[in-house]
């Protein structure tokens, strides 16, 4: 996993609530058995005017000029700004894979769906929760100035605005630690293998029917 420390980048605004995982990456792309290469199909149905196919070349497809990520001013964006309940719907980890592959490193929204939130951290993508008013204000500032950038400082847990103003944000300690160091949590869990085995011994006595081979 890519480590996340301090990221500075252009902010792309998607002024929409309940952005679901089908929207982020439509199901036909879930047929891939790989973890990478989903970026060109991120928001496929919003981004292109035709229907996308897996394993196809996307370079000649007609773009929807109205879609935010197609507008010249948001090219190279690294931060996605959205409304409440971002990532609702399915458990597909292809959603954070696609966002990350496209170039996003952080999302800012008032709330997220639980599974999406969880999946993001495992892929070096930082989902930041900010109050509605702060999100509103960011939408206004992004609209008002072309090339608007934010710096996300994870060690300090602040978002720095171009004006120098800082917005603090919350992130739980374990997730922060893993993100900062790009750690794989399987390795960490396996350090507690003895505790897992001990649990299994006790549990097998209490509920032997759960351990029938």
């Amino acid at each position: 996993m890519k480590a996340f420390t301090v990221v500075t980048g252009i902010v792309a605004p998607m002024d929409r609530a309940n952005i679901d995982t089908d929207m982020i990456i439509p199901k036909q792309f879930l047929k891939s058995i790989k973890r990478s290469g989903f970026g060109p199909n991120l928001f496929d149905e919003l981004r292109y005017l035709d229907e996308g196919q897996p394993d196809a070349d996307n370079s000649g497809r007609p773009l929807n000029p109205d879609f935010v990520l197609n507008q010249p001013r948001y090219q190279g964006a690294a931060v996605l700004l959205a409304r409440e309940n971002f990532g609702c719907g399915s458990s597909r980890e292809h959603a954070p894979w696609a966002l990350e592959d496209f170039g996003f490193r952080a999302i800012i929204a008032p709330s997220y769906a639980d599974i999406f939130y969880n999946n993001s951290f495992k892929n070096g993508l930082l989902p930041i929760v900010l109050a509605d008013e702060l999100v509103d204000q960011l939408f206004q500032e992004v609209a008002a100035s072309e090339g608007y950038q934010l710096t996300i400082d994870l060690p300090e847990q602040v978002i720095r605005k171009p004006s120098g103003e800082c917005i603090p944000f919350e992130v739980d300690a374990f997730r922060k630690h893993c993100l900062l160091n790009g750690l794989d949590d399987i390795g960490l869990t396996l350090q507690d293998a003895d505790a897992i085995r001990a649990y299994e011994v006790t549990r097998r006595q209490q509920a032997p029917w759960l351990f029938n081979e």
Binding site: I186, A207, P208
Partner: protein, 472 residues
């Protein structure tokens, strides 16, 4: 000391280790796998040279990509027309063979939608933790099991460690008291609930369904409800253990037998929330208020009753919702104020992990019996949830009822629920669907989904538009 909720009990039973930062290591009893979210996890294991921690905890079956026509199914994996789907199904077989995981392969009669197969096999038992790389894993909570969807990294984590790193959720109780009207199903109850609390209403919560109306529901109906807990934002849906749970589980292939059955049965009696349990939030619903439900928009919370209408902008609660409504009118091709019964339908889909069990098919067949699908309907599909459901339905003659009425009777799989195989909606087509999501493009590019119960879907197929199933 205050009593415990069912969720609290399940959590404590599976706690391996608590950490200082508020996370915990939770033991997983059952891990279900399918072809879409597992290939990258197996690949991860291989790269790290890791082995599954406990093989017998895993059970796999392909469901999302499998074709549903018998013609394609007959020739096995080679018969799958779409090359990308074929690779994905084959990859699951190869991974399960390589690591030694039990799999019901495509040609096995026990194959089906993973959330239908688990309970049907008794692989889902009360008091278990059940996970799967699929958000509708909440379904299994109907058995007083702690069940939720996970992402692919977590699939790999469970394979390698038999555990998950979790944070305790909040306790939410949805209490439905009273008697449900005639013709009102679990699907109507859960859609009504989503309409009340919204698609984010359960975020961060384990959502228990309780009250006299829930106790009166069958296990199938409870599964339908828990299945859609995720559509209300809750990763976990739960129903307390009772005699119906025991009756459903008894005698299934993976269920305990003889002495172990007695032992298990005794232990399961405690799988209910205590009378004095404390919930973070309680929502009270009156069963008598619930009417047959139909979604009109592109989110499950955009739902109304069969006698209702597409809401107008004035009915939106705030600006964000108003914007959502406008977008939904456009995508769905509907006008504000339009009556639900005036929506013309093109296709009908009866299936998915929400409503493809035997009880669902019986309800739909009851309506279809002796009637004909309207000539304006291009296609009406019935897709059983598993090979065993299909066999049972055929034994009861339900397939003949459907075929005589003009429905297509298919092989088991996810099918048009998410259109990863050939079953999909055309651009702009309206579909009455018994599935769980009406998101844009969910059932096919530009497709327009209306979520309903199986009886309502069958009635809509006959009429060509939505009708009140209670009036038939």
């Amino acid at each position: 000391m205050a009593g415990k909720t069912l969720y609290d009990k399940l959590w404590h039973m599976h706690l391996v280790q608590e950490r200082d930062d508020g996370t915990a290591l939770i033991y997983i009893d059952r891990h279900l796998l399918h072809e879409v979210t597992s290939p990258q996890a197996f690949e991860g294991l291989r790269l790290a040279k890791r082995q599954p921690w406990r093989l017998s905890a895993n059970l796999a079956t392909p469901d999302h990509n499998v074709p549903t026509t018998s013609l394609e199914r007959e020739s096995g994996i080679e018969g799958i027309q779409d090359p990308v789907s074929r690779i994905q199904v084959r990859t699951l077989d190869e991974n399960c063979d390589e690591f030694g995981i039990t799999e019901f392969k495509m040609q096995d009669q026990r194959q089906g939608i993973v959330h239908v197969v688990g309970p049907e096999q008794g692989a889902t038992l009360p008091g278990m933790t059940v996970v799967c790389g699929d958000s509708h894993t909440a379904t299994h909570g109907a058995f007083a099991a702690l069940a939720h969807g996970i992402g692919t990294s977590e699939v790999e984590h469970v394979l390698a460690t038999q555990c998950l790193i979790q944070r305790k959720m909040k306790n939410l109780l949805i209490r439905v008291e009273g008697e449900l009207g005639q013709g009102i199903t679990g699907k109507d109850v859960v859609l009504h609930i989503i309409g009340v609390i919204g698609t984010a209403g359960g975020n961060g919560c384990a959502m228990e369904f309780g009250g006299s109306a829930i106790r009166s529901l069958s296990m199938e109906a409870r599964m339908t409800m828990c299945n859609m807990a995720i559509e209300a934002g809750a990763r976990v849906g739960l129903v307390g253990f009772d005699e119906k749970t025991a009756e459903y589980v008894k005698g299934r292939p993976f269920a305990p037998t003889a002495e172990q059955w007695e032992q298990a049965l005794a232990a399961w009696q405690d799988l209910v929330s205590d009378d004095d349990a404390v919930f973070d939030q309680i929502v009270e619903i009156r069963a008598e208020d619930i009417q047959p439900q139909v979604t009109w928009g592109t989110s499950p919370e955009m739902v109304t009753t069969i006698n209702g209408h597409v809401p107008t902008l004035d009915e939106a609660a705030d600006d964000v919702q108003r914007m959502g409504f406008e977008r939904a009118y456009q995508y769905m091709g509907l006008t504000p104020g339009q009556k639900i019964t005036d929506i013309q339908l093109d296709r009908v889909f009866i299936g998915s992990c929400t409503n493809s069990r035997i009880e669902d098919l019986r309800a739909a067949a009851d309506v279809a019996k002796g009637r004909k699908v309207a000539s304006t309907i291009k296609q009406a599909l019935v897709v059983p949830g598993s090979g065993l459901v299909k066999a049972q339905a055929e034994q009861e003659g339900l397939d003949r009822i459907f075929v005589e009425a003009g429905f297509e009777w298919r092989e088991p799989g996810c099918s048009m629920c998410l259109a990863m195989n050939a079953d999909k909606l055309g651009n702009g087509e309206h579909c009455a669907s018994t599935s769980n999501r009406n998101f844009e493009g969910r059932q096919g590019y530009g497709g327009r989904t209306h979520l309903v119960s199986p009886a309502m879907a069958a009635a809509a197929a006959i009429a060509g538009h939505f009708v009140d199933v209670r009036a038939l």
